[in-house]
C-alpha cells in the first residue's frame, strides 16, 4: 500500500510539472501584455522598472526556471490585476466559497441522484422509473447557465422565496447549490439506475430472493454495496468538476468564489494568476483522483492495489 502511495505521489509531481510547463508557455503565446492601458500611459523607464520587478525583462526560459523554483517553495507570485495581492492570498480568500458551494451541491446531488436512481431501478418500467428518468433528462439537457438565472429571477425576485443572490446566511446557499447540482443529479441517477439493474440480475441476488430475504434487506445488504462501486469511481472527477466548475453559478448568484477570478485572469492576461490557479486546480484534481482510488480499494476488497499478501 505504502509503495503504491509513493509511486502515485511521484506521478502526481510529474503531472503537475507537465501542466505548469504547458500552461506557462501557452500563456506566453497569448497576444498582449498584462499591464494593459497603463503600459501606454507610463513613461518607458517606469514600464521597464515594472517589467523588471515582475521578471519580464529576462528571457522566457529564465522566467520559467525562476517560476518553477518559486512554485516548489509554495510561492505563486503577485497578481498583475491586483498589485497588492499575492495569488496565494487570492486563493485563500476566494476558494472557501467555491469549495463550500461545491460540497453543498455535491451532497444534494448525491442524495437526490442516488435516490432517484434506486427508485427508478426498483420500479423498473413503472411510472416511478419514467418520472425519475425524465427529471434526470431535464437535468442533463438544461445547462446551469439557463437554470441559474431562471432560479434567481423567479424564485429570488418574482416570488421572493429565497434571495436572488449574494453570499450571506444559509438561505443564500440553497439556490446556487441546487442550480449547480442539477447536472450531477442527472448523471448520478442514470448511472445508479443502470448499475442497480445490472446487479439485480446477478445470481447472488436471485439466491437471496429465493432464500426469502426481505426486499429491504436485499437492497441495502446486497444490491447497494455492489451497485455503488461505479458511482464511487466517477465521484472523484465529478467532485472536482463541481468545485471548479462554479463560474456561471458564482457570477449569477454573486458568490465571491475562485471561478470568476480564473476567467478574468485570462482576459486581463494576469500571468501569475493564470499559472497559479491552473496549478492549484490541477493539484486538487490529482489529489481527489488519488483519494478516489484509495476509497475504491477500501469499498471493494477485490481491487486492493498491493494485491496478494
Amino acid at each position: 500500500m505504502l509503495k503504491y502511495v509513493l509511486r502515485r505521489f511521484i506521478y502526481m509531481i510529474i503531472t503537475l510539472w507537465v501542466i505548469i510547463t504547458a500552461t506557462f508557455f501557452l500563456m506566453k503565446l497569448l497576444p498582449g501584455n498584462p499591464f494593459g492601458e497603463m503600459a501606454a500611459k507610463l513613461p518607458p523607464e517606469n514600464l521597464a522598472i515594472l517589467k523588471a520587478q515582475y521578471g519580464l525583462d529576462k528571457p522566457e526560459w529564465q522566467q520559467y526556471l525562476k517560476y518553477l523554483g518559486n512554485v516548489a517553495q509554495g510561492d505563486l507570485g503577485v497578481s498583475y490585476q491586483f498589485p497588492t495581492r499575492t495569488v496565494i492570498e487570492v486563493i485563500k480568500q476566494s476558494f472557501p466559497a467555491s469549495l463550500e458551494l461545491g460540497i453543498e451541491s455535491l451532497v444534494v446531488a448525491i442524495i437526490i441522484g442516488l435516490l432517484l436512481g434506486i427508485i427508478a431501478a426498483l420500479k423498473h418500467n413503472k411510472w416511478q422509473d419514467y418520472s425519475s428518468m425524465f427529471i434526470a433528462l431535464v437535468g442533463i439537457s438544461v445547462p446551469s447557465f439557463v437554470v441559474a438565472p431562471l432560479l434567481s429571477l423567479y424564485v429570488g425576485n418574482k416570488w421572493g422565496i429565497l434571495p436572488p443572490g449574494l453570499w450571506e446566511g444559509p438561505e443564500h446557499r440553497i439556490l446556487p447549490a441546487l442550480a449547480l447540482s442539477l447536472g450531477t443529479i442527472a448523471i448520478l441517477a442514470r448511472m445508479m439506475r443502470a448499475s442497480m439493474l445490472e446487479v439485480s440480475s446477478l445470481d447472488y441476488i436471485k439466491t437471496a430472493k429465493s432464500k426469502g430475504l426481505a426486499t429491504s434487506k436485499i437492497v441495502t445488504g446486497h444490491m447497494l454495496r455492489n451497485a455503488i462501486l461505479p458511482i464511487v469511481t466517477i465521484l472523484g472527477p465529478i467532485a472536482v468538476n463541481v468545485i471548479t466548475g462554479t463560474l456561471v453559478v458564482e457570477t449569477v448568484f454573486v458568490i465571491p468564489g475562485l471561478g470568476y477570478q480564473f476567467v478574468s485572469s485570462i482576459t486581463t492576461l494576469d500571468y501569475t494568476m493564470i499559472t497559479g490557479l491552473t496549478v492549484f486546480y490541477a493539484a486538487i484534481l490529482i489529489v481527489v483522483m488519488f483519494l478516489t482510488d484509495i476509497a475504491y480499494g477500501l469499498i471493494d476488497p477485490r481491487i486492493r492495489m498491493s494485491g496478494r499478501r
Binding site: V90, Q93, G165, L166, I174, V254, T268
Partner: protein, 562 residues
Amino acid sequence: MKFKKIFTAAMAVTLAGTLLAACGNNNNGASSEPSGSASGSATTGSGTGSKQEMVMNYRADPPALDVSIAESSASFTILGAVSEGLYRLDKDMNPQPALAAELPKISDDGTVYTIKLRDGLVWADGSPLTAKDFVYSYQRTLDPATKASYAFILTWVKGGQAVQDAKDEASLKAAKEALGVKAIDDTTLEITLEQPMAFFTGQLAFLNYYPQNEKFVSAQGDKSGADADKVLGAGPFVLTKWDHEQQLVLEKNPKYWDAANVKLDKVTLNIVKDTATGLNLYESNKTDYADIKGDQMKPYEGKPELVRKSELVTGYLNFQQTKVPAFANVKVRQALSMAIDREGLVNTVLKNGSVASTGYVPNGNSDGNGAEFRQVAGDTEVAFDVEKAKTLLAEGLKEAGVASFPALTVMGDDTETGKKMLEFLVSQWKTNLGIDVATEPLPHATRLEKELSKNYTIVSSLWGADYNDPMTWLDMFISGSSFNTQDWKNDQYDTLVKSAQKELDVAKRAESLKQAEKILMDEAAIFPVYFRSSPFLVKEKVQGLILPPYGPDFELKWTSIK
C-alpha cells in the same frame, strides 16, 4: 430532516421578504408628494427618522486603494468617499472648499496657487493633517519607484518631470526638494505650476492631488491600500470592511471636518458583476442602486428611478494608414465615416442614452477657458450622407491609385454592445458603400495590445477624459504619440497642440485647441461615433447622490435617505 430545515429557512426568508416589500410600499406612498429628482438638492436631510443606510451594487472590486497607485474608476470612487482633496466637486462640477478653507489665491501669471487649509484637520485615526501631507503625497506619486501610471498629471507641478526622470538617489532627492509644492506652514500650501491652467482648481479635487499620511503609508510598504485596515483617509467615510470581490462597507467618519453635513451612517457596496442578477437584487429591494443595460431598461423607461449619466467618453474609429495605404487619402476616410448612420447606432443598437457624436471632444467637457468645448466649437463632424460618401470613395480611391481595398477587418471589444456595434458598422459599409469588412471582437486587453502595436486595419476604440480639459483629448494625436496608432500626421495640427501646451494665455490656448479639433475632424483623421452615457437604477428614497461624468462613479458625501 434536511428538507424540514430548508423549508423553515424558506419560510423565514419569505416572511422577511414580505416585510421588506411592505417597507418598500410605505416608502413609495410617502414619495407621492412632489420632490426633486435623485440629483436634486442635497440639503433635504429633514431627519424623518428613516435609517441613513444605503446598499449599492458595484461592478468591480477596486484593485488598490492607494492614492498614488490607483488608476481605475473603482479606486477613484471609494477613495473619494474615504478621503478628500483640497476641493470637492459639487453636483455642477464646481470645486467647493474641502480640506482647503477657501478657494486658492492665484498669482497674476496664473502659476502660483496659495491655499489655506482648514484649522484642526485630522486623519480618520485622529493624527493631525498638515500641508506637509500634500508635499509627501505629490513627491511619492512622482517618484519613479512608485510606478504611478497617473503620475503624468502631477508633472504639471513645476519640476514634476524632473522627479519622474530622476536616474539616481541624489538627483531624485534634489528634484523632490526643487518640486513646486511647499508647506509654508502647517496650514498653508503653495503649489507652483509649469504654466497657467484654467482648470487646475477643479483638478485639485481629484485623487492624484489628495494628501497622504507618510507615517501610515510607509508603514504599509507594498501592502498600502490592500485591505480595509491599510487605508487611511480624511474624508466623510471610513472603510470598515473590505472582503475582496464580495463587499465593502463605508461608515461615517465622526472626525471628518464637515461630519455635521454627512447624512449617511453606512453604505454597503456589494460587488455584483452580472447586471441581470443585479436587477433581481434591485427589484427584490436588496439594493438601492444598480447598473442596468440594453433591454433591461424597457420597463423603467420614463420612471424617475432610471438615471442616465452622460460621461466624458467618446467611442471612435481609427483607420490604420500604413497597413491600408488607401486610408492615407482624406476622401477615403471621409467616405467611410460619412457612410455610418450614427443616430441609427445610438438609437437602435446602443440604446443606453449615448448620443451621436458631433466632434471628438464630448458634450460637457470644458474648453479650458470657462466654457463648454462643444458649445464653442459646434458640430465639427462629417454628416451622414450616403450619396456623398459614394462619390468621395470613388474619387479617393482614384487619387490613391488603387482599385479596391485589401481585406478589411474592424476590431473591437467583445462585450455585448461592442459586438453589436461591430455588426452595425459592417452592415452599414456593406449596404451604403458595398465594401466587405469582417468583424474581429477581442477581449479588452488583447484589443488594446493589437491597437497600440498598430496591428489592425480599422479599430473601434474608446477614450475617456483623464481631466476636464480638451488637451486630454487632443494631445494623443500629435504625430508620434503612442495613441496615434493610425499613423496620421498633420504639421499644422502638431503646431497648434504643441503651442497650446506652452501657451500662457488661456483664451489663446482654448482657441488653438478648438482649431486643432477642427483639423482632426475635417481630415477625418479619426471617426468619432458616439458620446457615451451609462444608465443606472436608483431608488427614489435616495437623495442627493451625484453621478459625475468622469473620475469617480458616484459622490456619496451629500447623499441621504428620505
